[in-house]
Symmetry: C2
Subunit: 151 residues, 2 copies
């Protein structure tokens, strides 16, 4: 079966060549240290050219998921588990069942998170509008240098 992952339908996923740690760091706005840390934690496993790390397209795809996971507030351990879901590859039936159950747990967690985000967005937009209205009622449409207050 081989479930494919990430970077689909983004349009420009060409440029399939291998990267050095520096290039990857540059591209993702991370430090070398951070990327090596992800390797220490088992989230990445680049090949080596001598002792130099070589990051394949697959490593890069994983890094995309790692960064997204981070933005969503997941711990590296959780992200690792998440990544392991995908590279299960062709596996035993039981392993696939297990992976599926993990995936479903993740889905449920993300659905809750979706609710949280939407709720917070709703409140913040309401807040924004309240302020805008307040400011409009009190004049001062744009930041003005001097304005007499009706005291």
């Amino acid at each position: 079966m081989q479930a494919t992952i990430g970077t689909g339908a983004t349009g420009w996923e060409a440029d399939d060549r291998n990267r050095s740690i520096g290039e990857l760091a540059e591209e993702f706005g991370l430090t070398h240290r951070t990327i090596r840390h992800y390797e220490d934690e088992g989230l990445l496993s680049p090949t080596r050219d001598g002792q130099t790390r070589v990051y394949s397209h697959r490593d890069r795809a994983r890094l995309v998921l790692i960064c997204r996971g981070k933005r969503l507030g997941f711990s590296l351990a959780e992200i690792k588990e998440f990544l392991n879901l995908y590279d299960t590859g062709d596996a035993q039936i039981e392993q696939m069942r297990y992976a599926q159950s993990l995936a479903r747990q993740r889905i449920e967690a993300l659905e809750r998170q979706l609710q949280d985000v939407q709720q917070t967005l709703k409140e913040l937009r309401h807040f924004d509008i309240q302020i805008s209205e307040h400011l409009r009622r009190n004049g001062t449409t744009e930041t003005q240098p001097m304005e007499e207050k009706l005291s």
Copy 2:
């Protein structure tokens, strides 16, 4: 003006009484330590009865937002800034402008997060379906104790 916050339209926001730290901890599934920590960090400021903390309805509402912020992966510092948005109360025009700009930054961040969540959900659901189909093709609809494999 006074922007109201949280627990609106939840239906049952009655039970307006004050709570002890123990009750709050119980209700939110937190430890005493955690709640006091939030106070140390300036996220809560309960009144005191003697030296015992007394949590008002407002404190409880803030705690709702704190927990949600945590689920969304925000740091306590960020959540504090967020809370300060709301209790600006009646403020100077300039302060309100500032609060509004902060709110809008938050909104943008949350919109990005929303994209992340939706993208991840999409991928996970796709993954889930792929596994389901794979399992269906290979029989074993339910976890079976014994089944001969067509080798």
